[in-house]
Symmetry: C2
Subunit: 280 residues, 2 copies
């Protein structure tokens, strides 16, 4: 029977540990602070940012929610600059995608590396590629954390990373390049995915195609990391077909796999940043 990499249960444990860390920091006079920046009027994004805020507060993190419904690159840049300088704020999370017309690269490039707890800036991604210290994107941390909690080895494995986003697949490949393993990358429309999947020990997929990875594509004992979020009404489906689970040694379910981990990883980076900034 394959091991189910339970993101929900793992999140519970991580949040408990983080709560204790925040308490310990408070006792030394440090309250981790997270600024959440949202642009535009997308309701789904607004709901998600409010959920991040609520979770942060549930473990004692100080939060600020800056919602710029209508804004310009200059105003957004000025806000980020101000937050970079604010000693109460240890982490800055800018919700992507930005509202239409705003320059995403310019915005994320303004975030100070030491406060880039969501791992969005070029500086962070470059450090990740170099194998230097940084706060990796939550999706990367979620996968690394599940491997750690379930005692799965990363080393000597051959990974196939399918997808090409700047917040998950590309940084994941950059992260893996600094481990003792092989990583093969493939874009979402690559025609070679089936043959590449057959030889992979671990497959991470993020292409938003429901049940794309099927049992016949994968080898016996594979570890399947499913980052798909394909909504049909209120139901969500992954990029991995459940038929493939039977051949897997471990897999992340959808829902309940990597998804629930994301906010906890953002908060952990915030607590780390607070600890680093205060030297406590």
């Amino acid at each position: 029977m394959p091991v189910v990499l339970d993101g929900k249960a793992t999140t519970g444990k991580v949040m408990e540990e983080l709560g204790a860390q925040v308490e310990a920091l408070s006792e030394r006079g440090v309250t981790p602070g997270l600024a959440l920046v949202l642009t535009g009027t997308d309701k789904y994004s607004a709901r998600y940012v409010r959920l991040k805020k609520k979770r942060a507060e549930s473990i004692g993190i100080y939060t600020e929610f800056h919602h710029l419904e209508e804004t310009t690159d200059e105003e957004l840049g000025a806000l980020i600059q101000r937050l970079n300088q604010d000693p109460k704020i240890h982490g800055i999370m800018v919700q992507l995608p930005l509202a239409e017309g705003l320059d995403e690269l310019k915005a994320v490039n303004t975030i100070a590396p030491e406060k880039d707890v969501d791992g969005l800036s070029p500086n962070t991604l470059g450090r990740l590629l170099m194998g230097e210290e940084c706060y990796p994107p939550a999706g990367v941390e979620a996968i690394a954390e599940l491997f750690k909690r379930y005692g799965l080895e990363m080393e000597y494995k051959h990974w196939l990373v399918v997808g090409d986003s700047n917040f998950l697949s590309k940084p994941l490949a950059a992260y893996l390049m600094n481990k003792r393993l092989n990583v093969t990358t493939a874009g979402p429309n690559c025609p070679h995915i089936p043959e590449l999947a057959k030889t992979a020990d671990v497959i991470s997929v993020e292409i938003q195609k429901k049940h794309f990875i099927t049992a016949d594509m994968v080898k016996e004992g594979v570890i399947l990391i499913d980052n798909g979020n394909n909504y049909e009404g209120s139901k969500v489906f992954g990029d991995v077909d459940p038929s493939a689970y039977e051949k897997a040694s471990a897999y992340t379910p959808v829902p309940g796999g990597t998804g629930p981990m994301l906010i906890a990883m953002l908060l952990r980076n915030t607590v780390r940043a607070a600890s680093a900034a205060s030297g406590v």
Copy 2:
């Protein structure tokens, strides 16, 4: 017969084109400026930096050679900051490795992204990973340029990138991830290189092991990119065994392949930076 990707001949053409571009810029009142920064007393590095300076001057680029034989992180940082502000300087090349005891990440992180013509800073590497505009490291540009000049397709190929340096193999993989192709990476001590090499359409190798890639490892028609520099006295040998050339459709020789291209690519980035900074 395989195509020899002749870096020396290609460099000649590139330098000629660059000379014409520098002349055109001069006529509009812009002289591209390159600052060369060397730390420590290593003679080989000093010779290489002087060669860069000479080549730059040969096509009309203004140069400054800052040789800090004994220095500190603070002094080096202050020099880079000053060069960042200097309007005569469009590109800053800091020779790596730095003298012992100096903080390399700190130094390269100080270079302004718009003057990072050697592609060393985390910001540049992050942009490369994101597929955003930047000045890629010379080694990456050399490979891309040889492909272009010889009309070789990058797309739909499966690349194997063997090596793990921050100035070539990791940025090359980051660059390739943004193309429509598959890239597999392997560190220098990876035990799986022979089996991975067998299925690769293109192999880039940078592990400093003389003649490591042999004919029996590669498939018929492979393109071999050899970044090895294994010196034996005054002779230099690549990481690819010449026996493998016969199975290749194209290859870079050592010497005379990617090596001679490196300075020209640095100078091209400098000319580009001058053009971008002056809006000419």
